[in-house]
Amino acid sequence: MLPGLTLLGVFLAYPFFLGIWLSLTDTRIGMPGEYIGLWNYIDLLEDEIFHQTAWNTMIYALVTVPFKGLMGLGLALVLNNHIRFSNPIRAFVMLPWIVPTALSSLGWFMIFDPVFSPISWLMTKMGLIESNINFLGDQVMAVTAICWVNIWRGIPFFGISILAGLQAVSQELHEAAAIDGANKFDRFVHVTFPHVKGILMISSLLSVIWTFADFQLIYVMTKGGPANQTHIFGTYAYQVGLSATEIGMGAAITLYMFPILALFSIILLRYMRKQQ
C-alpha cells in the first residue's frame, strides 16, 4: 500500500495545501510572494469576468445535466431492444465519451467555424441565411455551442449506465404488469423507472462534478473568448494563474470551486450509502 499512498501524498495532499497557501499570497511566476490574507478572494468578488465565469460554470454544469439524462435515457431505451449488430452499435455510440475530448472538440471547433461550418453551408443552400453564422463569436451562441458539445459527450455515459440498469429489470415483472393491465407508459413509470432512478441520480451527480471542473473542451473551442465571456473556473484560473503569471490569484479561483465540489461529493456519497 505504501507506494500508492506516498504518490497520493506527494502529488495530491501536498499540492492541495500548497494551493491554499498560494491563494493567500501574491505569488507570481518566478517571484516569491508574501502573505496577503484573503485579498485574492475579495478582489475576485469584484471582478466582472469572475462573475461571468461563475455564471457560465453553473449553466455549463447544471443546465446540461437534464438534457444528458433525458437523451441518455432515450438512447438506453432504444439500445435495450433486440437490434441487429447491437455490439458494434454499442461500441460506436460510446465514441463521443471515450475519445480524447480535446480532439473531438477540434472536430466541433471546425463544425462551428465562421468560414468552414457545414451547418452554415447547408443553411445557405436552403436559403435560410445570407451569410455564414459565427457560432463562437458571441457570448450566448458560444455558450450554447459549448453546452451542446458537452451534452453530446455526456449522452453515451448516461445511455450506457442507464442501459446496465435497464438490463437488470426482469422480463417477468414487465409481463406481470402487462397482465394486470398496465399500458406501456404505466409500465415505464412504475416498473422501469424505479430501477434506473438510482443510476440516473448517481450519473447526474458524477456528471455535475466532472463538468463543473472541466477544462479542455472550452480551452479548445473558445479559450474563454470572445472577450473572456465563456470562461469557466478551470480556464479562467489557467489564464490568470499561468498565462498572466498571477499564481496566487489563479489558486484562489480554483479554490472557489472547492466548496461546491465538496457539497456535491458529499451528496453523492450519502446517496450511495443510502442505496447500499
Binding site: G4, P88, L103, G107, M110, I209, Y238
Partner: protein, 279 residues
Amino acid sequence: MVGSEKHKSLQVYVPLAVYMVLLLFPFYWMTIVSFKPTTDLFKTELNPFWVQRFTLENYLYLFESTEFSSWLINTLIISVVSTALSIFCSICIGYALARLRFPGSNFMGIGIFLVYLVPPTLLFIPMAQVIAALNLFNTYWSLILTYPTQLIPFASWLLMGYFQTIPKEIEESALMDGCSRIQILIRIVLPLSVPGILSAVIFSFTLCWNEFLYALIFMSSGAMKTIPVGTVSDLIKADTLFWGSLMASALLGSVPVAFIYSFFVKYYVSGLTASAVKG
C-alpha cells in the same frame, strides 16, 4: 407480423438512426476533411459532406513535417508506464481494503472514493509548482508520477469491489496450508480477478491517453508533447488553419483508444457502471 415489424422499425430503428447521426457526425466530418486537399475546402460550390478529390497529403504532412510521431511515442510511453504503476499500487490498496482489517480501513475506503472526485483543475496551479521544484518539466516523469493520482483512487475502488466477491474460504484454506498473504494474492486472488483488472487497465490507459491539462502545462517543448496537446497547440497556426492535417491528427489520436475500447467493450462498460450499479 409484418405490421409489428414495421412498428418496431419505426419505434426502434428510426430513433437509433437519429442517435447514430447525432453522435457520430463529428467523426464523419473529421474523416472526410482529413482526406481532402486544402484548396477544396475553400470551394463553396463543392458539397462539403463528401470527398471529391481523395488525397493522403494531410497524413503525409503530419508525419513528415510535424512532430506527430514523437507525440505518438510520448503518449504511448507515458500511458503504458503510468497505467502499470497505477494498477500495481491499486491492487495493493484494493486488496488491503477488501481483506485486511486495520484501524481506519473503513474510513480509508471512503477517503479513496472522495479522492477519486478531486479534479485536476483544482490542483494544477500548485502542482505546477511541485513539478518545477522537482525539476520535472518536459520529462516523462512529470506525467507518469502525476497521472496515478487520478487513476489509483478509481482503480483501487473498482478492484476492492472485485476482491470482495472472491469467497474468503478459499483464501483461509490457503492460509492454513501455509501460504503467505503475498502468495495468496498472486496465486489465487489475481487469477480470479482478471476481468476486474482488465477493466481497471483499460480505464486507466484511456484516461492517460486522453488527459489534457497536466500535459498542456508540464510538457511545453514541442517534441515532448502528447497527441492531444500537440494537436491543439502546435497544429493550429494563427494565419492559416491546416484543417486537413489538424483533423487527421485528431483522428489518429482517437483511433488507439477507440480500437482498444471496441475489443474490450464489455470490461469498459462494467468498469464505467461499477460505481453506479454497485452503489
